[in-house]
């Protein structure tokens, strides 16, 4: 199980990390910076985290997935700092004997990360910055 907060994500390495002799399938989700939000052009996203707690929560989430599904490998990796359009900001993945488990686990990892892990994202537009989800 790999759980990390890093400055730069290389999505290409994750397949090797998920490889296992008993894994017939790996499912990976990569989140990246989109150019437009509600038709407004985004210059960059900036991520900050409460690192000790974020790593603890990510480990809990990975352990929950291991309890729910029969997984051989898991990766949860999030980037911090300023990220330009198309840059990867998060990679989660799981590998398992059959594909149902890795698809469901991968979805669980990203959904639960977004709900619980203390990481905050600020959208940087030309003339303003906005903390995402801060207001109702």
């Amino acid at each position: 199980m790999i759980v990390e907060i890093v400055d730069v994500i290389d999505p290409g390495q994750v397949y090797t990390e998920l490889s296992h002799p008993n894994s017939g399938g790996s499912c990976v989700f990569v989140g990246a910076v989109r150019e437009f939000t509600n038709n407004e052009e985004v210059t960059a996203l900036e991520f900050e985290t409460y690192k000790t707690m974020a790593l603890k929560e990510m480990e809990k989430i990975a352990a929950e997935a291991t309890e729910k599904w029969k997984l051989n490998k898991e990766v949860i990796r999030h980037a911090v700092g300023k990220k330009a359009v198309e840059e990867p900001v998060v990679v989660v993945g799981a590998s398992s004997a059959h594909r149902d488990a890795c698809f469901e686990a991968c979805r669980y990892l990203i959904d639960t990360l977004k709900e619980r892990v203390p990481i905050w994202k600020k959208e940087i537009f030309k003339n303003k910055t906005v903390w995402i989800s801060a207001h109702p």
């Binding site: 989140g31 991520f47 900050e48 985290t49 409460y50 000790t52 707690m53 974020a54 603890k56 999030h78 900001v89 998060v90 990203i110 990360l113 977004k114 709900e115 619980r116 892990v117 203390p118 990481i119 905050w120 994202k121 600020k122 903390w131 995402i132 989800s133 801060a134 207001h135 109702p136």
Partner: protein, 80 residues
């Protein structure tokens, strides 16, 4: 007792952390801390949610606070 601030909570308070020192009235529970913060910084009350972590774990309102705890104010998370 040290309180860490992140994201928009840091911007509202204008600091990345603050301390309750010996002379201060130290909040005894998570709910007391939240109430105190919302009174001092009304904009914190306008957020979609406001959680508190004690020693890097989410804590519910009833959770008691001790002088040595690391407290963190957790505004709505938005990772991923």
């Amino acid at each position: 007792m040290e309180v860490l601030l992140f994201g928009i909570a840091k911007d509202i308070v204008g600091e990345s952390s603050f301390r309750f020192d010996e002379g201060d009235v130290v909040p005894k529970s998570v709910s007391e801390l939240k109430q105190k913060l919302k009174n001092t910084f009304p904009d914190l009350g306008k957020l979609s949610s406001l959680a508190v972590a004690v020693n890097s774990e989410y804590a519910n309102d009833e959770k008691g606070l001790s002088q040595g705890d690391e407290i963190a104010i957790i505004p709505p998370v938005s990772g991923g």
